[in-house]
Symmetry: C2
Subunit: 459 residues, 2 copies
Amino acid sequence: MIGNLLQPELVELIEKRDFAQLREILCNFDPPDIAEIFTDLKPGDEAVLLRILPRQTAAQVFEYLSLSDQEQLVQALGNEQVAQILNDLAPDDRTALLEELPATVTQKLLNLLSPKERKIASELLGYPKDSIGRRMTPEYVAIQHSWTAGDVLAHLRKVGRERESFNQLYVVDDKGRLVDSVRLRNLVLAELNTPASELFDHQSPALRATDDQETAVAAFKKYDRTILPVVDSNDVLVGVITVDDVLDVAEQEATEDIQKLGGMEALDAPYLKIGMLSMIQKRAGWLAILFVGEMLTATAMGYFQDEIAKAVVLALFVPLIISSGGNSGSQATSLIIRALAVRDITLADWWRVIRRELVAGLALGCVLAAIALVRILLWPNKEKVYGQHYLLVAATVACSLIGVVLFGSLAGSMLPFLLRRLGFDPAAASAPFVATLVDVTGLVIYFSIAYQILHGTLL
Amino acid sequence: MIGNLLQPELVELIEKRDFAQLREILCNFDPPDIAEIFTDLKPGDEAVLLRILPRQTAAQVFEYLSLSDQEQLVQALGNEQVAQILNDLAPDDRTALLEELPATVTQKLLNLLSPKERKIASELLGYPKDSIGRRMTPEYVAIQHSWTAGDVLAHLRKVGRERESFNQLYVVDDKGRLVDSVRLRNLVLAELNTPASELFDHQSPALRATDDQETAVAAFKKYDRTILPVVDSNDVLVGVITVDDVLDVAEQEATEDIQKLGGMEALDAPYLKIGMLSMIQKRAGWLAILFVGEMLTATAMGYFQDEIAKAVVLALFVPLIISSGGNSGSQATSLIIRALAVRDITLADWWRVIRRELVAGLALGCVLAAIALVRILLWPNKEKVYGQHYLLVAATVACSLIGVVLFGSLAGSMLPFLLRRLGFDPAAASAPFVATLVDVTGLVIYFSIAYQILHGTLL
């Protein structure tokens, strides 16, 4: 927004090379707002502006940019300035950037870091992709068991400036294992000579560095904290993770799930930023797979070709019946995928889900069957449109709808369970995937019921 | 998990009325874990356990329960205990609960509150549903412009204990308007005699109480804060909102969007908790609307009945073609709805989106058309299955696929824009809704192209 308003003015100043004026304008804004201004500029212009900002501000602005913008900037900037910015970035933000870049670029950038920062970056990068270890920062504050509140505050004044967050301070034993924690809040409220041990939380929920990021989202929701400690497999404190990073994770996971549900690969970049070719690739893959699956409908229809030739009226209801199955499957699969993602249900609940979907599917099927019966039986010239056996046709459509909707609900709800059980992401059971599955089965259900009911009359 | 393990033991103790033992077991756990144990119990048993917990612990456990559990408990508990718990709840959690209950129950509960707490609750409830005002807490700490860091810390020791969060302290002028803010972090790091004004942030991004909660999610992501101030239309500071509440909002909004995308009303309750009847209602409404819309396919097919009778082979490809349109529409609509929700795009971007979808839709249509051509032309007994004019049939199918996929991508991407422009929630443009729209249009496209290409041969 701000960017759009300022853009013509800024672009003009960049062309005029009026850096003094540019710097003055930009320094009137806060880093998040400068970042917003940047996103509306061309990558080359962004690099120019970043170079003229004061070093600390530049690093802060960089932190607020999206990963894809950061990537473009790294390529447009000189080595020296990249090194400066990388060294000033918070470790967790640096990891997120390095992770995004091609491996060769990452290696090159790691070499630009100071030895101390490189050590932190490589350590963080050693954890599996999408693990908590990648998102944590090693900049926590550890305190001694024997200190008073005053000692802790004095220690903070000494080391705190370099730490990203110390809302929570941690007590470790001589092996570095996490023992307890103190809230900064309680330290501030206490008299200075209070022993810190009196202020301990006596409860230190900790995350494992190798666990998936989604675990962190669930833990922050459960414990209502702004910061949580991260330990390795020996309970040794290795870092902390803050809630603002987790907010990003939660949004990102939801975006990926929504895109997969829509029947494509997750884009991993904002819609307007991703290259046209890679967007088409990410969509074409699944679309082609679904298309090949859907070809089975042509095969199934071909199998019933004689029936269709004898009773063309049957063909009229094909889209209606298979799409109803697809819609009910889409509802069921969206419900279950989200419930699994936010941990409302677990794998063990599959039996309870089947029972619920059995009832819901039957009820929904009956609702649609009733609507179809009303529509066919109350149609003004029903005998002309549906032929003399319109009653039998109506019965065929109604029974098929109940069968197809029931099958859709069951298939849509069980597929995410099956995928997770097999070790896949349940969100891969997209609505279109379920619809394709139900389309083919729906045709078989429809024509089998038609054969039973209409045998001897229309067929 | 813990609940499942302990459940038999706890249920036995409840039946034996061994309250001393129960209390001892529960007091070994932290409030979040007790809340987890509670969710696996029957509502009556939950009420029993809540009664035997120490008063403060009971309020904490209650805070960690889901809204639907809280609602059941309120109905199972006596007035006196409800009043105690309500008075001990944080204002924002209390508002969330009161908002969830039927209006008459809310009125009754408001009467149970102490006059001071009732005033806070009614004030918060005065803001529109889903507004930031409903989620904020009025328990912020305001400081004077002239104080030193030491003065502020002394003030905190006096009033801080009652405040939910003081990671950020606020400076207001004599009319109560927000002027500036100080981070607790900087206060703690400063020497005690530093004037607080030297520590001011000089940037106070503030939220409006009447704005939608989604604005808060976006602001927390932009500013990386754990707490943000909330002001009224005169810039008067009325409260603060914390990031942990916003994490809940972000998850809840994503869940609603996913459920709407799946083609149903948002459930507003966990899958296994919601009553069967209300779940069926929330699903049946949209399913019936979609079904009535999809009936237009039968009408459209009826219109082309003569063509189908002449060339049954056309009917074979109906499901394949319309589902391809539905799938591409589903991809486009999921992409755009999520991009609008996380503000990657705004209404003003509609023209850029159309251009992208035009290219993407054409490319995706060509991919599917190529697959279809290969399949039809390389099929072993193609002349037997598709008749002597299989080349013309193949051309019809290929051209229809390009048209339908292009239309699906454009309709799927533009519908969310149209809905938001008309003031509706763009997520109402569910994948099944788009599919239904594309199904009907797809049939018209298919049979029109068939008529053009096959006129004089098959038709």
